[in-house]
């Protein structure tokens, strides 16, 4: 009797263990009592609308089947989102409570994970599911070897947007070729020429030349410039910042010089806005901004149509043709099993090819699943775009370049380490400040009637460079981030 009882107990316990082990069977979700998932994102405009539509679609289909309701909350910019998340994670007074899912860059993910607030998505994604993602994209969300803290949602790269109408007008006059725009040196030279050409158009007014070039993300410019020149300024492997003076000097000179002398500019919120206002002819910016590139610009209170030329990201001469690869993924907060699982269910659904392509192609993002690139729908969509409205055609052009960069050329995403996001900010803000200061100084000098060379000399690029480095060093020291100089 007693032996039989033991056997039965053994059998039952084995059964329970087996049941518990079998994946996919057990769920914390209950369709009758759906779990509410709050999603914070930084998308705006059409991306926001597209996300909200996707969330609606999810809620009424898979979500309602499995018992997940997602509430998408726009948190404005990346910076605002990250502040809100950091505040929430740190439990700052008056901060909102942590969302269940949020858009997140790797650097931030590391920080939040350091607070123990992130969930390892490996628990919710099988190997088979994970291999569907582009390995490189997935890797950028993987930390400490295995922990998958970020699921890639969409990716983007940067390229050179050109108001072809304006460029052609200038090119026809200057005899410059668009191929000049392949290098930063070429860009700089073309911008210089453009400035002079426009300045010459109003002979009565000296120094009213127009800017040709804009840089949307200065940080990316610094990082990818370093990379092109063989330096990883954010050395994730060694968890330090590498300040290579020669490389940094080249980068500094191009930007600082361009900005100071008005070759480069940044007026509106985004460089695409500057294009729309007719303040710029070209800029380097994210492929995800493709839709924002206008088909017309406002001129004299009227709409003036323009053409669009998409070019690859410029390369410092002698550098490798690297372009940035970026894009926030989404992280899931360490919360309750049902919320974590609900979030994972949403992310799986959202990054599945059909939804992912729809969302990505709203503005020019790249899907994250390898299969998407072979997907007929994706290809058809691209073709539809290339024969669609002007905006659609613009997007198609961006995809052409972006896909070329992703598939054929090198794209680079710095390996993050703790504080590396601050490094980005430091690099960007310090350089932008330097540029702004340079421009203001230059304006004064211009009024004094100094030539461009004289102005440059007066500005003392070497000294300014050292100043920049000093700012960088001090900020890194302040943040306690290690750096080496070379």
């Amino acid at each position: 009797m007693k032996r039989r009882m033991k056997l039965v107990c053994l059998f039952l316990s084995m059964l329970i263990t087996l049941t518990a082990c079998s994946p996919g069977e057990k769920t914390a979700l209950d369709p009758k009592n759906p779990v509410s998932i709050t999603l914070w994102h930084y998308y705006v405009g059409d991306n926001k609308i597209a996300l909200e539509k996707a969330v609606d679609a999810f809620n009424t289909s898979v979500g309602s089947e499995k018992g997940v309701v997602v509430n998408a909350v726009a948190k404005g910019s990346v910076a605002e989102l990250e502040k809100a998340v950091t505040d929430a994670a740190n439990g700052v007074i008056n901060a909102e409570s942590m969302p269940d899912v949020f858009s997140c860059y790797p650097d931030k993910a590391l920080e939040i994970d350091g607070l123990g607030k992130l969930c390892d998505l490996n628990d919710y994604f099988t190997k088979a599911e994970k291999v569907q993602y582009v390995e490189e994209f997935l890797n950028s969300g993987q930390f400490d070897g295995e922990r998958l803290l970020i699921l890639p949602i969409v990716k983007s790269t940067e390229l050179l947007y050109v108001n072809e109408t304006a460029w052609n007008e200038f090119a026809a006059e200057s005899g410059l070729d668009a191929s000049k725009l392949g290098t930063w040196e070429g860009v700089y030279a073309a911008a210089q020429a453009y400035y002079k050409w426009t300045d010459a158009q109003t002979p009565t007014i000296v120094g009213d030349g127009k800017s040709l070039m804009g840089v949307d993300s200065v940080a990316n410019y610094v990082i990818i410039g370093n990379k092109q020149l063989g330096v990883e300024v954010i050395d994730g492997e060694n968890q330090q910042v590498v300040l290579n003076k020669d490389v940094m000097k080249k980068i500094f000179d191009t930007y600082y010089g361009g900005m100071s002398l008005g070759y480069f500019n940044a007026v509106g919120k985004f460089r695409s806005d500057d294009i729309k206002a007719g303040d710029l002819v070209a800029y380097v910016g994210s492929s995800s901004g493709a839709a924002y590139f206008p088909t017309w610009i406002e001129k004299d209170n009227t709409q003036q149509p323009i053409n669009f030329l998409a070019l690859s990201y410029p390369v410092f001469s002698g550098g490798s043709p690297d372009a940035i690869q970026q894009g926030a993924g989404m992280s899931v907060t360490n919360s309750t099993p049902d919320k974590q699982e609900g979030a994972a269910v949403f992310l799986k659904w959202f990054t599945a090819e059909a939804q992912n392509i729809d969302f990505a192609m709203t503005t020019g993002y790249l899907p994250v699943q390898a299969g998407a690139y072979e997907n007929e729908a994706f290809k058809t969509s691209l073709e539809t775009l290339s024969t669609g409205t002007d905006t659609d055609q613009n997007i198609a052009k961006v995809y052409e370049i972006a896909l070329d960069q992703i598939m054929e050329r090198e794209t680079y995403a710095s390996l993050p380490f703790k504080g590396s996001y601050e490094v980005r900010t430091t690099l960007e803000k310090s350089l932008m400040a330097m540029g702004e200061a340079g421009r203001q100084n230059a304006v004064v000098l211009k009024e004094q009637g100094l030539s461009e060379e004289e102005i440059l000399a007066a500005l003392d690029l070497n000294a300014r460079f050292e100043e920049w480095l000093t700012v960088i060093r001090s900020q890194l020291d302040e943040s306690g981030i290690a750096y080496v100089e070379k």
Binding site: K48, K53, T60, V69, N71, D273, K276, N301, Q303
Partner: protein
């Protein structure tokens, strides 16, 4: 039989009933109190409260927004009127001039940004009556449309310009949208531009009214064709005359609307949702609606008319909604318009819909849980009852099981149960058992000590057989070994195999083990649960009986048949051949008494043996030779030819017997003499007892008439003398039981006429005897005279003693047997006991036999010595030596009635009596005249001087002491006087 249940079951049922009753009572109480439905009401109230709170929050928030927007619009109106004046144009023409428009746009943007900053809206816009960039296009309206994707953050950096001049974008460093445009285009479809037209229309209707009155809420629509449904609130831009030339508005997109104004967090119940829509007459008109979330979007169908039915509480309705089933709706009217607004009839209504079953979930759940709890509690209570009752009654069950399984041989020991009553009971039983065992032991011991070979067995229905040690011993089994029912049936068969014929329950049993023949008595009786039996070894009894039977059949001394054997065998032979002739010979040895007296009993025995050898003579004829008793023998011959032949054979006995001699110790060889009588079958008698009697009588005759001879039965003689024989037994009985009584005949004193005494006359109480003479005769024949004498004397004294007072001084005459006298012991007894009566007693004796005169005189002397008187009875009846007797000097002489009767006319008798009287008087002897039966005889004897008289004339014998008749007394006195006179005369 009354059904019995175990204590355990009864307790179980009782307690289970209590538990059940309690549970049922609890359920009933809950049902009656309707507690659950209170929960339902509470849920509805809660729902109503929540919805009302939401409405208030919404109203407050929206009201504030309206106020802000109205305020801002009024400021803008004023600013634009001023601007138009500066530009030298009318406000409604501001769009026509580029710079004027730029100014206008920038000023409007300022208001829009302010609105966006201050209010929780997702967009704000400003639309003019015409297009600056497309002046010829009537469908185009110059507009500024700014959206804020993060209304809650208060950050302006996320503002996105959908429509407007780039100057505005630059002014506020505001990104432009993908669909950035300069104009808002009027759609052709009807109502699509209501947000623009309605407020302006309203302003035209109510001139100079407060701004809020013109406000218009447009239902959700995709205003910018970007897939974003938005709700707008617009106010007119008015010129100084109050004519509208544009609108200023806010936009709330659907996601934000639901997040901000209809938050899920508000909802108390799952599967519930808010919706804002138009409500008309209890119907939710879903032509447009603002859903709170996914559920509302899923289950509410655009264009549907959702009819509500009024519920119990105010603002509570019910409706059916697809898969969600019956919904409870809490409805609150929203205040988005002033009461005086022309659009107030749009009835914006907030409804919160909850599935009815969800609303009642709590109460259902509580109900279920409560019922489950009660059921569980009940089940647990049952379990507890069973377990507790089990443990409670286990001891008692064990006890009863223990008792059931007890063997009668076991000593009882009860384990204590801890229950005092039960333990007391068991202790009592234990004590009883102890006593019973003691009794049983004692009984066994007694049985054992009694040496009775007896044993018992009990066959129980439950196939158990219990044996006592004796039975084990009998069957040669180990004592105490277990005997099954099968074993026992085998043993039983073996024991009862040979029943003894004619003797119930006795079985012959051969014990093969000891090779002994045994007899057993086996008795069985039913017992309540089987049967019990007793086995007794009766071997000894049987053998003894057989031996006794043998002894009874044969005479021990002679080896002849016994008396009983003779009777049995004779009866048998007669029965076998009743038609043959038989002869019963009764023989009595003549001189056994002499031999015994002379030589002792040993020689007497030898004589008997010797005699028996003679009588065996008849054995050759098949005779049954038996010794009846002492010296009496009887032989029966049957079927030995005819009577003559048989007689001859019998007669030959004497010659045959001559050769048998008995040598006595004195050396003489004596012939053996015997007398014999023969009675014939069937001539004299037909059964053995009669034959014996008749032959005995014949022998008796021989003995009396001719000793040593054989007499045949003589019927005439027998009839004459039979009473002597027949009453042989009777006399013994009479003597043993003193079956006599006394009659008293008065004896009268002839001088005084008084009764001087009574003669006690013996009267037999047995019918066998007709008179005292026969008693005397039989007693004499049976040599019982001594006993008779003793009885008469003793009884006479007893009677005297008893009637002493009645008798007074009078005498008693007692008849005594002359040849007998009391032995010394009896004499002593009488003397001790009755001495005082001696002087009253007169002993009457008769002289019958001259041989006994010596004996008589001795007796008389003996009586006289005792002070008693002697009377000589029947004097003159013919005995020869009367005179001689007189010499014995008796006190009284009673003259026989032969001499008295007829004396009056018989001179001989007169002479004889006169002489006798004379003689007696001379000697001092009184004279009694017996048999006075006539008056003249009385007169004669009185005249002759006789002293006393008795006779029928004077008084018959009676069983009482009769008094004398007074007449008779007078007669006697007269006669006496006469006699005295006569003698004086002489």
């Amino acid at each position: 039989m009354k059904k019995t249940w175990t204590l355990r079951r009864q307790l179980n049922i009782l307690l289970a009933l209590i538990v059940t009753f309690q549970s049922v009572a609890l359920l009933s109480a809950l049902w009656v109190s309707q507690v659950f439905f209170m929960l339902d009401a509470e849920a509805v109230r809660l729902l109503n409260n929540t919805t009302e709170t939401r409405k208030k929050t919404f109203d407050a928030s929206v009201g504030q927004t309206i106020a802000n927007v109205a305020d801002e619009t009024e400021q803008l109106n004023a600013a634009l009127i001023l601007l138009a004046q500066q530009q030298g144009s009318a406000p409604n023409a501001l769009y026509l001039n580029d710079s004027a428009y730029n100014e206008t746009a920038l000023r409007a943007s300022q208001s829009l940004v302010t609105i966006l900053k201050e209010n929780q809206v997702t967009g704000a816009f400003f639309v003019l009556n015409g297009s600056n960039s497309n002046k010829g296009d009537p469908a185009a309206h110059s507009a500024v449309y700014i959206r804020n994707s993060t209304p809650d953050s208060g950050v302006t950096s996320n503002y996105l310009m959908e429509i407007g001049p780039i100057a505005v974008s630059k002014q506020y460093t505001m990104a432009t949208s993908i669909r950035w445009d300069l104009d808002l285009r009027r759609e052709n479809s009807a109502g699509a531009f209501d947000f623009y037209e309605k407020p302006i229309w309203a302003s035209s209707q109510f001139k100079n009214a407060e701004m809020e009155r013109y406000g218009y809420w447009s239902p959700p629509r995709d205003l910018l064709q970007d897939n974003q449904q938005v709700v707008t609130y617009t106010l007119p831009i008015l010129d100084e005359n109050g004519n509208g030339y544009g609108v200023m508005g806010i936009e709330i997109d659907m996601p934000y609307f639901s997040q901000q104004y209809l938050p899920d967090s508000d909802l108390l119940y799952h599967n519930s949702f808010y919706v804002i829509t138009q409500m008309i007459d209890q119907t939710l008109n879903l032509d447009w609606f603002i859903p709170s979330g996914v559920l509302a979007e899923t289950y509410l169908k655009s264009g549907e008319q959702l009819t509500l039915t009024k519920g119990q509480d105010k603002g509570i309705f019910e409706t059916r909604l697809g898969a969600l089933g019956t919904m409870v709706a809490s409805v609150q009217k929203l205040k988005v318009y002033s009461d005086n607004s022309p659009f107030a009839d749009q009835n914006w209504t907030l409804a919160c819909l909850v599935p009815k079953d969800v609303l009642r979930e709590n109460s259902v759940s509580v109900r279920e849980k409560l019922i489950y709890s009660i059921l569980m509690t009940t089940v647990l209570a049952f379990g507890a009852v069973f377990v507790l009752v089990y443990f409670f009654t286990r001891k008692i069950s064990r006890l009863s099981k223990y008792v059931r399984e007890l063997s009668p041989y076991d000593e009882i020991y009860f384990k204590p149960t801890g229950m005092r009553e039960v333990d007391d009971l068991t202790a009592a039983v234990q004590l009883l058992n102890q006593r019973l065992m003691n009794v049983s032991k004692t009984t066994s011991k007694i049985l054992e000590l009694s040496l009775l070979p007896i044993g018992g067995y009990e066959v129980l229905e439950n196939s158990q057989v219990i044996l006592t040690d004796f039975v084990y011993w009998l069957l040669h089994l180990e004592p105490g070994s277990v005997i099954t029912l099968d074993d026992w049936s085998r043993y039983y068969l073996q024991l009862t195999k040979k029943p003894v014929a004619g003797q119930e329950n006795i079985y012959e049993y051969y014990d093969a083990y000891t090779e002994k023949q045994m007899w057993l008595r086996i008795l069985e009786a039913k017992s309540p649960n089987g049967l019990v039996g007793v086995i007794q070894d009766v071997t000894d009894d049987i053998e003894e009986k057989r031996r006794l039977t043998n002894e009874l059949d044969y005479d021990a001394l002679t080896g002849l048949f016994s008396n009983t054997a003779l009777k049995r065998e004779t009866t048998r032979r007669i029965a076998e051949k009743p038609n043959e002739i038989g002869a019963m010979i009764f023989i009595d040895l003549d001189n056994l008494k002499y031999i015994n007296d002379t030589f002792g009993h040993d020689v007497g025995d030898r004589l008997i043996i010797r005699a028996s050898e003679i009588f065996r003579y008849f054995e050759q004829f098949g005779g049954i030779v038996s010794r009846i008793s002492g010296d009496e023998f009887a032989i029966y011959l049957h079927d030995c030819g005819n009577q003559e032949e048989l007689r001859q054979k019998i007669k030959n006995l004497y010659p045959y017997g001559k050769s048998f001699l008995l040598t006595t110790p004195d050396g003489n060889e004596n012939q053996i003499c015997f007398s014999a009588g023969v009675a014939w079958y069937p001539q004299d008698a037909s059964n053995v007892l009669e034959l014996l009697k008749r032959s005995d009588f014949a022998m008796y005759e021989a003995k009396h008439k001719e000793k040593g001879c054989l007499f045949e039965f003589n019927r005439e003689y027998y009839q004459q003398m039979s009473y002597l024989l027949e009453n042989r037994e009777a006399i013994n009985r009479l003597l043993d039981e003193q079956l006599i009584r006394f009659a008293f005949q008065p004896i009268v004193d002839l001088k005084s006429g008084e009764i001087m005494g009574y003669e006690a006359l013996m009267r037999p109480l047995l019918e066998n005897f007709k008179n005292p003479r026969e008693i005397l005769a039989v007693a004499a024949a049976q040599s019982k005279l001594a006993q008779l004498e003793r009885m008469i004397i003793l009884m006479a004294f007893q009677t005297l003693d008893k009637h002493a007072e009645e008798l007074g001084e009078r005498k008693i005459f007692i008849n005594s047997i002359p040849s007998q006298r009391l032995n010394d012991e009896d004499h002593l007894f009488v003397e001790m006991q009755y001495r005082q009566y001696f002087k009253q007693v007169i002993i009457e004796v008769t002289e019958e036999d001259s041989r006994n005169i010596e004996l008589l005189s001795e007796k008389i002397r003996f009586i006289k010595n005792n002070g008693m008187a002697i009377a000589l009875d029947d004097f003159g009846s013919g005995y020869s030596n009367e005179i001689r007797i007189l010499s014995l000097l008796p006190d009284i002489i009673k003259i026989d009635m032969e001499m008295i009767q007829g004396i009056n006319n018989n001179v001989d008798k007169q002479n004889l009596v006169a002489n006798l009287v004379n003689f007696c008087h001379n000697k001092g002897v009184k004279v009694v005249a017996e048999g006075i039966e006539a008056s003249n005889d009385l007169a004669t004897v009185i005249a002759m001087g006789i002293d006393y008289a008795q006779g029928f004339y004077l008084g018959q014998p009676m069983f009482e002491f009769a008094a004398i008749d007074p007449e008779l007394q007078n007669e006697i006195r007269e006669l006496q006087k006469k006699a005295i006179q006569n003698s004086l005369e002489e």
